[in-house]
C-alpha cells in the first residue's frame, strides 16, 4: 500500500516516523527485501558536501541616510554585483578581490574570494562594504564605506543556481607532462592521480535518479539551515546514458537551491581555494526522500558498488571538448584509494567529503525524528529523462 507525504508528516508529528540515511537503507533493503523496507521505512535522508562554484548570496543592506543606489560594490575587496535594486547586491562564490593576482604568478593561490566572504558572513564576522554610486535626486549619496554584519542585513539568501550534481567525472591528467591545476584539484602527469567529486551512495540525486520525489518546492537541509529547491539547476541534463539501475553514467541532473543565510552555520558553508583555478564554496546539502513505494526504496538502496563514474582526461579531452572517457569505475573503487586505468594503478582522492555528507544525512534524520522538519510535496517536477533535455555546447557565432 503506497504511502503519502501527508501520512509521513502525520507520523513525524506523532513521533512515530522511521528515518534512516541512504547508507543504512542499503543493508535494510538487502536484509528485509524492498517490499518490507518500503512498508517499514518512511524517509531516507541523503547528503552531500563539496565545492560548488555556482553559488552565491543575495543581500539587502537596508538604506543608508541619505539614500544611495549602489553602482559598484566590494565586500572585503571582492566585487559584488550591484545591478539589482538600490541596496540589493549579489556576491558570487567565485568572485575574486579586485586586485587579486589571479594566475599571473602561476599557479595562483586564490586565498580569498566570494566563497570566503559568504563563509565570513555566516561566521558572524563584520564585512567591509565599499559602494560607489552616481547619485540621483532620490538616492543622492555617492559613496558608502561601512562595516556590515549578517545580523543587521534585512535579507541574506544563499542562492545556488546549480548544486547537488547527479554523478560527476573522475579527473585525470593523461597527456600533460606538467602538474595541472583544475577545478577538480591538482592532477599529476602520467595518470599520477585521480580526483572524484560525489558523495556516491549518499548523494541526493543518485538516490532519486528519476526525480520522482525531489522537485520544485522540496524542503531541504542547506548550509545547516532549512532551504528549498527552487528550480532545476543550470546544466540539468536528465536525458543522458543511464545504467540498468537508472542511475546516470555521466554528470546529469542538478538542482537550484536557496535558503536563509541567517539560519546557516559556517561548518556547512566553506570558502574553498583551488590552487591555479580560483575560489569556490563548499555547500552542505541534505535532502529527505519520502519512501512512498517500493520503486523509491529500491533506488535508495543503491550502493557505491553499483554507482559508476566516468574517468575523464583533463589535459586534453575536457578542455578541448573532446567527447568520450577512459572508462568507468565504481564509487567503491574510488573510495578504496586506488583505481585501475588502462592497466595502471592510480591513487584516488575526493573533493566532496563523504564524512560530512554522512553527518548531514544524520543531522537531517534527527531533525525529522524530533519533529523539527516536515516533508513537502513538490509543487512541480523537474524535467526527467523523458524531456529529452541535454546540456548543449555554446553555439559560437564569431563576430567579425
Amino acid at each position: 500500500m503506497p504511502k503519502t507525504i501527508r501520512e509521513i508528516n502525520e507520523k513525524i508529528r506523532k513521533g512515530q516516523v522511521v528515518v534512516v540515511d541512504a547508507e543504512e537503507i542499503i543493508d535494510i533493503v538487502a536484509e528485509r527485501g524492498p517490499e518490507r523496507a518500503a512498508r517499514e521505512v518512511d524517509v531516507v535522508t541523503t547528503g552531500t558536501f563539496g565545492p560548488m562554484c555556482s553559488s552565491g548570496a543575495f543581500l539587502n543592506t537596508g538604506h543608508t541616510k541619505p539614500r544611495s543606489k549602489f553602482t559598484r560594490v566590494t565586500l572585503n575587496g571582492v566585487t559584488a554585483y550591484a545591478g539589482l535594486a538600490a541596496v540589493d547586491i549579489y556576491i558570487g562564490a567565485t568572485e575574486l578581490p579586485v586586485d587579486d593576482p589571479e594566475n599571473r604568478i602561476f599557479p595562483g593561490r586564490f586565498r580569498y574570494g566570494g566563497g570566503h566572504v559568504i563563509e565570513d558572513l555566516v561566521a558572524g564576522k563584520d564585512i567591509e562594504l565599499h559602494a560607489t554610486a552616481y547619485g540621483t535626486d532620490c538616492y543622492p549619496l555617492k559613496e558608502v564605506h561601512s562595516w556590515i554584519n549578517l545580523k543587521t542585513l534585512n535579507q541574506a539568501v544563499l542562492t545556488n543556481p546549480r548544486n547537488a550534481y547527479q554523478n560527476y567525472n573522475v579527473a585525470v591528467n593523461r597527456d600533460s607532462k606538467r602538474v595541472l591545476y583544475t577545478y577538480m584539484g591538482v592532477l599529476q602527469p602520467n595518470l599520477g592521480n585521480a580526483n572524484y567529486c560525489s558523495a556516491g551512495q549518499l548523494s541526493p540525486l543518485l538516490n532519486d535518479p528519476f526525480y520522482k520525489t525531489i522537485g520544485i518546492g522540496t524542503r531541504i537541509f542547506l548550509g545547516g539551515g532549512i532551504g528549498y529547491v527552487w528550480w532545476q539547476g543550470t546544466q540539468h541534463a536528465p536525458a543522458v546514458k543511464r545504467a540498468e539501475n537508472g542511475v546516470p553514467l555521466v554528470p546529469a541532473g542538478t538542482l537550484a537551491v536557496c535558503g536563509d543565510l541567517k539560519q546557516m552555520d559556517r561548518a556547512w558553508l566553506r570558502g574553498a581555494s583551488l590552487v591555479g583555478y580560483g575560489v569556490s564554496l563548499a555547500v552542505g546539502v541534505g535532502i529527505p526522500i519520502p519512501i512512498l513505494d517500493v520503486d523509491i526504496v529500491k533506488h535508495c538502496a543503491v550502493s557505491d558498488a553499483d554507482l559508476l563514474a566516468p574517468v575523464v582526461d583533463y589535459s586534453t579531452d575536457y578542455p578541448q571538448c573532446i567527447p568520450g572517457n577512459l572508462g568507468w569505475v565504481t564509487y567503491r573503487e574510488l573510495k578504496s584509494g586506488k583505481i585501475n586505468i588502462k592497466g595502471k594503478e592510480v591513487p584516488t582522492a575526493g573533493l566532496s567529503s563523504y564524512a560530512k555528507a554522512k553527518e548531514i544525512a544524520t543531522i537531517l534524520k534527527e531533525w525529522i525524528r524530533k519533529g523539527q522538519f516536515f516533508l513537502t510535496e513538490p509543487v512541480a517536477p523537474i524535467p526527467g529523462p523523458e524531456s529529452g533535455q541535454t546540456f548543449n555546447p555554446f553555439p559560437m557565432r564569431p563576430v567579425t
Binding site: 592521480n193 581555494s273 563548499a282 573510495k335 578504496s336 584516488t348 582522492a349 575526493g350 567529503s353
Partner: protein
C-alpha cells in the same frame, strides 16, 4: 635506536658552519636531511631526522643550543587543523609518507605527525588551508 624529527633554524651568522658534520662526527648521530633551505646571508631552515641513542641525541641538541641553532620537534611546526578540515581527502593521494590517511569506511582524514616530513605537498592541494606550516 630512537629516531626523531626536528626543525633547525640557523641564524645568518651560522650559515657557513658545518653543523651537520659536527652532529655526525662529534655526537655519533645518523642524520637524514628531509628538507633544507639555506641561502647565503639568510636564516636557514633544516628538517632533520636524527637517529641515535637518547643520551647522544640530547648531547647533540645541547651542542645546537651552545652554538645558537634553534631547534624544535617537527610536530610542533606542522599542524593539521581538524576544525578546518572538511575530510574531502584531496590531500591523501598527495602525501608521500602516509602521514595523511583516510579511515575507512568513515572516510575521515587522519594526520600522523610522526610520519610527516614537512614536504609541503599537501599545502596547495588543500582547499581549506587545514594544514599549517610554521617555519
Amino acid at each position: 635506536m630512537p629516531s626523531r624529527k626536528f626543525v633547525l633554524t640557523f641564524p645568518r651568522s651560522l650559515v657557513g658552519e658545518p653543523i651537520i658534520y659536527r652532529l655526525v662526527k662529534d655526537h655519533d648521530l645518523v642524520v637524514n636531511i628531509l628538507r633544507a633551505s639555506v641561502s647565503p646571508d639568510e636564516a636557514g631552515h633544516l628538517v632533520l631526522e636524527i637517529t641515535g641513542t637518547e643520551p647522544r641525541i640530547q648531547a647533540g641538541l645541547e651542542y645546537l643550543d651552545r652554538v645558537g641553532v634553534g631547534w624544535q620537534p617537527l610536530s610542533k611546526d606542522v599542524t593539521w587543523r581538524e576544525d578546518l578540515c572538511t575530510h574531502c581527502t584531496a590531500c591523501v593521494s598527495a602525501c608521500p609518507t602516509g602521514a595523511l590517511t583516510v579511515e575507512r569506511p568513515s572516510m575521515r582524514v587522519r594526520f600522523d605527525e610522526e610520519k610527516c616530513i614537512a614536504c609541503e605537498l599537501c599545502l596547495p592541494v588543500c582547499s581549506y588551508k587545514a594544514v599549517e606550516l610554521h617555519f
